[in-house]
Symmetry: D2
Subunit: 115 residues, 4 copies
């Protein structure tokens, strides 16, 4: 079993043991995910770009926890919708490679619809 | 190399080839992540809980893409902050297991501070 | 002076007195706004639709505070960008009236691009 | 009638004419609001602080539309929950004034729990 499948199963058991599946509709789970994303953003809202690259150990630990929360919900949503998140990411990167050809976008940060 | 490390490296190369590292401060990346989370939520905003469990193939595909986008930014942020996202998730689940003891929370959806 | 202009001025003075203008770039302020939006969503994430229409007094008060936070940042962003938020809303509603003609959308919740 | 009450009524009529009240549970509306907040953030994600203060006319117009969308949903949620958003904002500012005393926070951007 891959490490992601293992993690998915751990999360599944965690939720089943607590009878939380009843709350875990995809609708509710995407709300939970964006709530965690908001908590992540909170750590960075008043920082300068450079400060965001040089977090204190305490802040870094808090950020790590938020990333973990997002990851857990991401895996849970994918599980509920029967999506292989690893394959999805690989596919998306391939698609981005053709949407954003190196020679056209090098050093520029625009959306592909703006090229 | 694990599958997550491989994915991280692919994303790294993708970004380096485009000279996008200059835009990828943690501050900017967390913004990009929550933007994608918002696009994910958009697919579910008007759905009933039951509808959210039974997406059309077209909608499911769109949702899969949003999950992939979130995953990619999540890995990218972790990479930039030198965080092991898999370890972070495992640690968080362990911590949640003691914050939410089965016998206390079974079938209830409250925050641990409310118990 | 209108009530919105008065509120804008109060927020301005609040910020100036604390020398917080240096943090209030539009980039930082939109982050702050979405963080508050996430806190709002948190109150609703595990609720059934019907429960969300029938909040306890304590929860209602917490929700009211989140709405206030969002409102304050919204006015602040508009102020910083010299946007008349009231006019902008009126204009948007007019535009929505032509994008979503009554006879076409009655009782349906789709995005205009899907019609 | 105040300008905010007028706007609230316009939004009410807009929704009633389309029979959209059935979709406008507070749960759904807070999702819609954060989706718009995400679209707002998207305009700023790759910008430098200084660039965010100096938007092109085209970008400024797009940002204005996002602010309008957020404002409309904010008013709609408050209406559905019978909250006076103007009073709520004034109350919150008063509370912030005591949470963040000028002499303690001048020139610093921390959360009140960190003081």
């Amino acid at each position: 079993m891959s490490e992601l499948e293992e993690l998915r199963n751990t999360i599944r058991s965690f939720s089943e043991a607590r009878d939380w599946d009843q709350f875990h509709s995809p609708k509710n789970l995407v709300m939970a995910l964006i709530v965690e994303a908001g908590e992540l953003v909170e750590h960075f809202q008043w920082l300068k770009q450079s400060e965001s690259q040089d977090l204190s150990p305490k802040k870094l630990e808090a950020v790590e926890e938020e990333l973990a929360d997002i990851f857990v919900y991401l895996i849970r949503i994918a599980d509920k919708l029967d999506i292989d998140i690893l394959e999805a990411a690989k596919k998306k990167i391939l698609s981005n490679e053709s949407k954003y050809p190196v020679e056209m976008v090098r050093g520029k940060a625009k959306k592909y619809t703006e090229y």
